[in-house]
């Protein structure tokens, strides 16, 4: 009985699946040196950038696609992807009046109308937004307000032009192109992304946010994000993602690098809602992302918070290298899979410095026929004395056709380390649901309540504006998953 209802009701409609009708400026399909030169030329890049790309491409050609993750999918055909698609007009825009009205409509549908942002100026809680659609950064808001404080927040392409010394110094310093298959691919073909530099002693007065959207059909999105917090600096950074519904799988392979100097702190929050495919597992985004931060100097802190509800296949491990003494790394994650989604996600905490601390809180929720894996590594290097880690990995199953898996790896090379790991697996309780119903709360709302309660520790880490969105998203992506 419960299963029939389950099968009948698993719907989890994707509410962001619209296609914006904007003429795109595409590269031809496929990948070779000429394509890379084309991208570089399009972006008017200096020679060193092109060389970096070509080196990465040469290296990528020597690699095999990895297959160790607990996911199965048809390998993307890398010659069948469009590596550059820019919505027209692609001229530098200075005011909203110059923005294509279709594009503005897109932003509105995404719930981030720039108009709204503008109206909010002068209010306490403001968010500066960089929007990356397909391959190109379209508009960065609040640039002037930020530049008064010396904060640089711009598209990656712009940073290459305007701040080449910073890009040269930091790009690839956390995720070298040799890191893995998709990092190498990204380094060769990345088209845009966001760049952020917070100078010494500056606390960024607003949330910085990037929205990524894949729009054109058959395109891949390969964006790079680079965030640098100089000494005593602080920034909270948000990332949101959506894509239209399409039958074919689309590839998203991003690289995010974070560097914190002495006493600096970066909070990086993601609400990932790429199109997950339909209820039969057709279509959806392949999300193969390399995210890593380094606490380069003492007393610095990097915090990853992610709410992952989208993508057909996710392969993602936001990590922290704790190099500076007393540095802190955190990973708070909610990963939801429904229907035929697959997620293999987790983190790596690499303790190198003394008195370094890391916390991992992972909440996996599986529904439908989905598979949800946590994969984590805690490595304490020799000489990283008094390192501490606490990991908690909880899995929640909804129904009996889905799977939850936990792969925790621990490597300790220093005897003074204290590492704690806790793991639980639970089923969403019929008793909990009935209890809610007996108080007048219907099934959907009850699931929303229970799931949000289950994820509270993680949701609490999100900035207010994002937490509300994330809560709604959780409820929507699990709609009808328990009868």
């Amino acid at each position: 009985m419960a299963n029939e209802i389950l099968a009948e009701q698993i719907s989890g409609e994707y509410k962001y699946g619209f296609v914006t009708d904007i003429e795109a400026d595409n590269a031809p399909k496929g990948l070779n040196e000429d394509i890379i030169r084309f991208i570089s030329k399009k972006k008017n890049e200096p020679e060193w950038m092109l060389e970096y790309r070509l080196k990465a491409f040469k290296y990528w050609q020597t690699l095999e696609e990895p297959h160790w993750a607990h996911v199965s999918y048809t390998k993307p055909n890398f010659q069948d992807i469009i590596y550059y698609s820019a919505p027209k007009p692609k001229v530098q825009l200075n005011s909203l009046d110059e923005v294509d009205p279709e594009l503005l409509k897109t932003f509105e549908k995404l719930g981030i109308s720039i108009e709204e942002q503008k109206r909010l100026s002068g209010v306490e809680s403001r968010i500066a937004v960089d929007i990356v659609m397909d391959s190109v950064s379209v508009k960065t808001t609040f640039k002037e307000t930020l530049s008064e404080k010396g904060i640089i927040f711009c598209s990656f392409g712009e940073a290459v032009q305007e701040h080449p010394e910073l890009v040269k110094k930091y790009m690839g310093s956390v995720v070298p192109y040799t890191d893995n298959f998709y990092a190498a691919l990204n380094s060769a073909v990345f088209t845009d992304g966001s760049f952020c530099y917070i100078p010494k002693g500056v606390r960024c007065p607003m949330e910085l946010s990037t929205y990524f959207r894949i729009n054109a059909s058959g395109t891949g999105q390969f964006e790079r994000t680079l965030i640098i917090a100089d000494e005593d600096a602080y920034v909270s950074y948000l990332e949101g993602c959506t894509a239209p519904m399409r039958d074919e799988n689309q590839l998203h392979a991003a690289v995010v690098e974070i560097v914190t100097h002495k006493n600096a702190e970066v909070k990086y929050s993601t609400v990932q809602n790429w199109y997950p495919g339909d209820k039969n597992g057709k279509g959806g985004i392949f999300n193969f992302v390399t995210k890593r931060g380094i606490c380069l100097e003492d007393n610095s802190k990097i915090s990853w918070t992610q709410v992952e509800t989208g993508s057909a296949v996710t392969w993602k491990y936001p990590s922290v290298i704790l190099k500076g003494d007393n540095s802190v790394g955190e990973f708070y994650s909610v990963a939801v899979t429904n229907n035929y989604q697959q997620a293999d996600t987790g983190t790596k905490m690499m303790h190198l410095g003394k008195n370094t601390r890391s916390t991992i809180i992972s909440k996996g929720i599986s529904a439908g026929f989905s598979n949800n894996s946590y994969r984590g590594l805690v490595r304490i290097a020799k000489g990283a004395s008094n390192a501490r880690n606490f990991s908690q990995c909880d899995s929640l199953l909804m129904g009996d056709k889905c799977g939850a898996h936990t792969f925790p790896y621990i490597e300790i090379k220093d005897k003074s380390a204290i590492v704690e790991h806790e793991a639980t697996t639970s089923k969403i309780g019929e008793d909990q649901l009935f209890y809610c119903k007996s108080r007048g709360i219907d099934n959907e709302k009850a699931i929303g309540l229970i799931v949000n309660g289950y994820c509270k520790e993680v949701l609490n880490k999100l900035p207010m504006e994002f937490a509300v969105e994330a809560q709604k998203l959780l409820a929507v992506s699990l709609e009808g998953s328990v009868g």
Partner: protein
């Protein structure tokens, strides 16, 4: 013949020949019960006689199969309604074993419940300040520690706190028919007095209460209009409040003898 009270008009709950099974095993075997607005009914019976089953069936738990009989609530076919609609119509069950919902604050839980019920009745959501005033008032009524209201639903509550929280929820939702399933078990005498006090204060001519209990003790505080004895899935005897005393005195064995079981 079931014991009946005269002089009251409106039948709130009418249970006729109710049979219910679980996994093919018949638990309720022909229950007849009529409850009018303004009344308090006590249902007593030994462990396993079907008291919790009856309350769960009334609240709409899906596990049970109703094989025979009918239940009407204020003229509506209760068995046709979803559990949430029963609650919205004014049925409330205080659980024998209240459920924990980690991470969901009591306040948020109740606010959701109240607004769902209001939406069902075509009312707008309750204003935040009115809601908080209501919380304050009802907390006082059941002497619930303010901290408990802000904690996750029943999580880490002691047995007594859970029971008191059920009565707090009842006070907040103001049901027409409250079914208290062994709300007294596991309570010390002070807690018992507070819980009973809450029930008495909430009593009105428009609502009714079914108090399920194993012990006569609770009925010193909540005085029932009628006492029913449930035995092996049937109400085998009904009578005035003195029946509870007789039962306490003689034990359930006397019922067994009387019904010839």
């Amino acid at each position: 013949m079931p014991y009946c009270l005269s002089g009251k008009i409106s039948e709130m709950l009418v249970i006729k020949n109710l049979h219910a099974s679980i996994d093919g095993k018949e638990i309720l075997r022909g229950i007849n019960l009529e409850v009018k607005a303004g009344e308090i009914h006590a249902i007593m019976g030994p462990n396993g006689s079907g008291k919790s089953t009856l309350s769960a069936v009334l609240a709409g738990k899906a596990d049970y199969e109703i094989t025979e009989g009918s239940v009407t609530f204020n003229g509506k076919d209760l068995l046709e309604l979803s559990p949430e609609d029963r609650a919205r119509e004014g049925v409330f069950l205080a659980f024998q074993y209240p459920v924990e919902i980690p991470g969901v604050s009591n306040i948020n839980f109740l606010k959701t419940a109240i607004n769902e019920i209001r939406a069902y009745k075509g009312q707008t959501p309750m204003e935040a300040k009115d809601f908080l005033a209501l919380v304050k008032e009802k907390q006082k009524l059941v002497e619930l520690d303010g901290k408990l209201a802000n904690r996750s639903v029943n999580e880490g509550f002691s047995g007594g706190e859970k029971k008191r929280n059920e009565i707090f929820q009842m006070a907040m939702l103001e049901p027409k028919l409250a079914i208290l399933d062994e709300t007294d078990s596991g309570l010390d005498i002070d807690a018992l007095r507070i819980v009973a006090g809450g029930v008495n204060k909430l009593k009105s001519k428009d609502n009714a209460t079914i108090v399920i209990t194993h012990y006569q003790r609770l009925l010193d505080y909540i005085v029932p209009d009628v006492v029913h004895i449930l035995y092996k899935g049937k109400i085998v005897k009904s009578g005035p409040k003195e029946l509870a005393l007789e039962l306490e005195e003689k034990g359930y064995d006397f019922i067994k003898e009387e019904v010839g079981a």
